[in-house]
């Protein structure tokens, strides 16, 4: 087992480092692609921020850098990526490997098939944790994100760690990872409620006695608030003011930068009259946030599935999604191998996603470089991309509910469902 893991991780690291060294211009190229690098995760913008930071200018002065302040000291410690990129490349490779290791812990915990309150009737249908880690490590989207050195790789690492620790019932590391993820990207804060439930379930299984739910929730919420507060305080200390709040979370919330990305927001907000902007910002955010309570309540018995589905929702409906968010979701889906037989549109969804990932760059080329297409071309293909991801989200939700039904009403197993 360990040898297998070492081989897998070695191969994944080798592929990444080989791509970094064999094609030295590839990171630059990918860092400029809108599909991978968004205004809030781009490595180019991070370099700009680091430059300003090391020259004792506020990194947020130029209006270019929109990422968390704590990334600055980390990346200013590394040698300049323009001249000696190896250390940076190694860091991003390590981030991917750590993420895969966290994913293996999630898979080993078995929370995806058997939880405290629910035992799937197909629980034996599982992939080994190594296979699941392999889908993450060798997914073209993950590799592209790593090569583009987009900081969403770090966010993904912390989300995966938070899930892993929650499924092991390790509260402290869970809260820390969760706070880091929320601090870096803001929207992962919506994962906190389902993951607290997961942590509660895991703790109950581990200690055989259920802790007091109220006390458990209170301590975790307080701990989470304290961790977030600590990170924000540290950031304010580091940059000397609170202006980073507007430049990071403000940008994520209010969408001032309308650079195209694979999401659905930019096109709407370029078209929109300014007087409606606030209203629709509210509506769009309400829409993203509304999935969390609904799914958490309905699928209370399977909190890990709720968290996974929410990452899929993020990959479609957040303001600045990228291929990195899709890579996180698509590598979490194989945890639910037992739902695959119940899913109805797997080929359709995967073909849609594959086609979109080829046609997307082609249409972007037609729009920006050849000049023979226009913005609608690229927007149309981002719609297809989002459609593909939403089919996976919707279809897996259907499969999860069907799986629950099979447990509740075994006599209906294999029968076709009808809406009554």
């Amino acid at each position: 087992m360990d040898q297998q893991k070492a081989m897998l991780f070695g191969a994944a690291a080798a592929v990444r480092l080989l791509l970094f060294t064999a094609f030295p211009s590839l990171p630059q190229l990918l860092a400029g692609r809108v599909e991978v690098s968004t205004p809030v995760t781009s490595f180019k913008r991070l370099q700009e921020g680091v430059f300003l930071y090391t020259h004792n200018v506020s990194p947020y002065d130029g209006g270019v850098y929109h990422q968390a302040p704590l990334l600055l000291p980390l990346f200013s410690l590394l040698p300049n990526p323009a001249s000696s990129p190896f250390a940076t490349n190694l860091l991003f490779t390590a981030v991917d490997l750590l993420g895969a290791s966290a994913l293996m812990q999630i898979a080993d915990s078995g929370q995806s098939v058997v939880t405290r309150l629910f035992k799937s009737s197909r629980k034996d249908l599982r992939w080994s944790s190594a296979a699941i880690a392999a889908t993450f490590l060798f997914s073209p989207f993950t590799i592209t994100t790593c090569i583009a050195r987009s900081t969403s790789a770090l966010t993904n690492l912390f989300i995966l760690t938070a899930m892993a620790k929650a499924s092991q019932g390790a509260s402290f590391t869970f809260i820390f990872a969760m706070a880091m993820a929320s601090y870096l990207a803001m929207h992962p804060i919506l994962l906190f409620p389902p993951l607290v439930l997961l942590c509660y379930d895991a703790r109950t299984i581990k200690s055989k006695t259920a802790p007091n739910p109220l006390a458990f929730t209170a301590t975790h919420v307080l701990g989470f608030a304290a961790a977030c507060g600590g990170l924000l305080g540290l950031s304010a200390l580091l940059t000397g003011s609170w202006e980073f709040l507007a430049a990071t979370y403000g940008v994520r919330l209010l969408l001032p930068d309308l650079t195209p990305n694979v999401g659905l927001w930019w096109y709407f907000f370029t078209e929109m009259f300014d007087s409606f902007r606030e209203f629709f910002l509210g509506v769009f955010w309400l829409h993203v946030a509304s999935y969390m309570p609904g799914l958490t309540i309905r699928l209370r018995t399977q909190p890990l599935f709720v968290a996974t589905t929410l990452t899929g929702i993020f990959a479609v409906f957040t303001p600045y999604p990228s291929a990195a968010d899709a890579s996180l979701y698509l590598s979490l889906v194989p945890l639910f191998r037992h739902l695959f037989p119940l899913m109805r549109y797997t080929f359709l969804a995967s073909a849609t996603i594959l086609y979109a990932s080829f046609l997307g760059p082609a249409f972007y080329y037609l729009w920006i470089y050849a000049g023979s297409g226009n913005a609608n071309f690229f927007y149309a293909i981002t719609l297809v991309w989002s459609l593909g991801l939403s089919i996976v989200v919707g279809d897996s939700l259907y499969a999860a509910l069907r799986d629950e039904l099979d447990v509740e009403r075994p006599e209906l197993r294999g029968k076709e469902v009808k809406r009554i």
Binding site: P341, F358, G371
Partner: protein
């Protein structure tokens, strides 16, 4: 809802698996037929100018009379330059342009491709438009050598005359740049690259004079010597690099001025005689598609198009009564039209197939044909995916029933076919359980094989782009031999390890066709013709199958299993004939080209023009062919 559930129930129907090959064949047939009906009046349209500002042919042209004498003088001047060394010649040209009160300069460039050194010098001059603010410019190009390698005597002389003539007008609201490029393809490329600062300054000189954003470019080729030659028609060349086309409005403006205002006919794609019947329209379209599919530079204008500068070349052809003044007045009128532009040409089509100078097919009408061909690969790949999930041998109820009756309880009886009752709309039927099961797919070998075969394509890509001219022919023929034998060697080696299993070879074909279909449909949006041509040559890959010896001996041996070796051999021969290397060689034989010249051009394209047709051939077409051939060759050794 009812429809969805019906469709869902239909998926379980084993008959549905019989359908895809016919569906794929239908897609290909419809795709080809679609292309063949395009020249008909019902499917093509007359061209029209959509941009209001252009107003083609609405102005009176004053390029007549005494300008003719100036032109003749310049023509003799140019003729006297022909035998001079390059530097001296270009200094003379600069001197002439400066004496016309223009800012003039030279630009040296040198490229290396296939061990050859392409070095030359461009001469260019900028006329500052009296009403312009140096934000926009239009370009008039006359390359010193034409596409066919003749000296562009009258073309260069006309450029000099027009530079003198245009300078006297006060109505230019854009700057005009006059460019005399050293040769017809690399020279303009070096100049445009340098104009947009995307050149490598070590080998290509930066431009010392510049103007604003280029709005359009017109190149003229008129190789008539010092004593002139009257021409019959204008031949308009419009293909850009990688199959990109200029805005149709520019082409239409040129046609409407030349034929409407000047009375000179226009022709395209070397169709010297065009009677506007179906056959000739089709021929024009196919020639246009091949030229677009190859993606090579067809003239001095080609280099401009990747920079989103619409450009065409006007070439004089035939013997007639039009002289240099017709060409001059055409250019004048064309420049007056371009001068009117308020914004970049964007109104009209960027994707079109021309059937004749005033008839075209737009993208909405022709794109489905390439898409259908790309879809045929996807359909087969879906079918193979489903097939790979089915157990290898589904006992057919029609054959097992009499078997049991005649022989009674034999050994066969013990593994009796398990059946299940399927009920749909009150109809019940018995289905073998095996038909509904999905077996686990082993994905590792197919994925590794597909990755490896795409990786293998990098070798010929690198070799052909970086070999010197002397070694290109041996390199080509050894590649031909290697690629012809490699599938058999690969299949034989794999067979030694008892791989691939029938399921794995199905999956190899499935993934390879999936990628091919996806690449081609993405490519169809960028370069329709290339996608269509590759799709046609790759279409047999949809229908070939790897035939394996039956795993369980069942009495009624299917026809395909019985004649496995013969069928595999036939399919191998067909595929060997469709090897990309063989297809390329056959095409060069058909058009009577030297293969080395083609390869040299391709390498020049790669290093100078930014051509990526090779990438499509070696990294899309060849790997798909290789995967298909290995799967078929597997049938010979199983």
């Amino acid at each position: 809802m009812a429809l969805i559930s019906t469709l869902l129930a239909l998926r379980k129907d084993p008959r549905i698996l019989k359908l895809p090959p016919y569906l794929s064949a239908l897609c290909i047939l419809v795709g080809v037929a679609w292309l063949l009906v395009l020249p008909l009046n019902e499917y093509s349209r007359n061209t029209y100018v959509s941009e209001n500002a252009l107003l083609p042919g609405q102005v009176h042209t004053y390029f007549t009379g005494s300008e003719h004498n100036v032109f003749r003088a310049y023509r003799h001047e140019v003729a006297s330059l022909v035998d001079m060394p390059l530097e001296e010649r270009n200094q003379k040209l600069v001197h002439i342009l400066r004496s016309n009160k223009l800012k003039a300069a030279t630009q040296s460039y040198s490229y290396a491709a296939s061990g050859r050194n392409i070095s030359n010098q461009n001469v260019y001059a900028v006329l500052q438009g009296p009403r312009a603010d140096a934000t926009e410019a239009i370009v008039l190009v006359a390359s010193w050598l034409t596409i066919d390698g003749e000296v562009n005597h009258s073309g260069v002389a006309l450029l000099l005359t027009l530079s003198r003539y245009f300078k006297r007008w006060s109505l230019w609201s854009k700057d005009i740049i006059f460019l005399i490029s050293g040769d017809s393809t690399s020279g303009p490329q070096a100049w445009v690259d340098a104009y947009h600062d995307s050149h490598s300054p070590d080998t290509i000189e930066s431009l010392s004079i510049k103007s604003g954003a280029l709005q359009g470019a017109v190149a003229i080729e008129y190789p008539a010597g010092p004593w002139g030659h009257r021409f019959e028609k204008l031949h308009i060349i419009y293909d850009g690099i990688n199959g990109q086309l200029p805005n149709l409005d520019l082409f239409n403006t040129a046609v409407s001025i030349a034929s409407g205002q000047m009375g000179a006919g226009c022709t395209l794609q070397r169709m010297w005689k065009h009677d506007d019947n179906y056959k000739e329209r089709l021929q024009t379209m196919l020639r246009g598609m091949i030229s677009q599919g190859l993606g090579h530079a067809t003239g001095p204008h080609s280099a401009f198009i990747p920079y989103h500068v619409d450009a065409i070349t006007l070439q004089t052809v035939g013997d007639g009564w039009h002289d240099e003044m017709t060409l001059g007045r055409t250019v004048e009128s064309l420049f007056r039209s371009l001068n009117n532009l308020l914004e970049h040409l964007h109104q009209s089509f960027f994707f079109y197939l021309l059937l004749q100078a005033n008839r075209f097919v737009s993208i909405g009408t022709y794109l489905p044909s390439a898409m259908l061909i790309a879809v045929s690969f996807s359909i087969t790949s879906i079918a193979l995916w489903v097939l790979s999930g089915r157990p290898t041998s589904i006992p057919s109820p029609a054959t097992t029933a009499p078997l049991k009756d005649s022989k009674g309880p034999t050994e066969k009886e013990t593994n009796k076919t398990a059946v299940t009752v399927v009920e749909k709309d009150k109809d019940k039927s018995l289905l073998p359980l095996a038909a509904l099961e999905v077996t686990e797919r082993s994905l590792f070998l197919p994925v590794a094989f597909i990755t490896l075969s795409h990786f293998l394509g990098l070798f010929p890509l690198y070799i052909f782009n970086n070999t010197t001219e002397a070694f290109l022919a041996p390199a080509f023929y050894s590649t031909a031999i290697l690629t012809a034998t490699l599938p058999f060697a690969a299949a034989f080696t794999l067979r030694r390890f008892a791989r691939p299993t029938p399921q794995e070879s199905t999956l190899i074909q499935c993934f390879s066709l999936l990628f091919l279909g996806m690449f081609l449909s993405a490519l169809a949006t960028v370069n329709f013709s290339l996608s269509f041509l590759v799709g046609i040559f790759a279409s047999p890959l949809t229908f070939v199958r790897g035939l394996h010896a039956a795993s369980s001996p069942s009495t009624p041996v299917p026809f395909t299993t019985k004649n496995r070796l013969a069928l595999s051999a036939v399919m191998s021969v067909v595929l060997a004939a469709l090897n990309p290397v063989v297809v390329i060689r056959a095409a060069t034989l058909y058009w009577g080209r030297d293969i080395v010249q083609v390869l040299v051009q391709a390498a020049e394209g790669w290093h100078v023009w930014g051509l990526w047709t090779q990438v499509v051939v070696w990294l899309v077409w060849w790997p798909a062919w290789f995967a298909g051939s290995v799967v078929v060759a597997g049938g010979l050794f199983s």
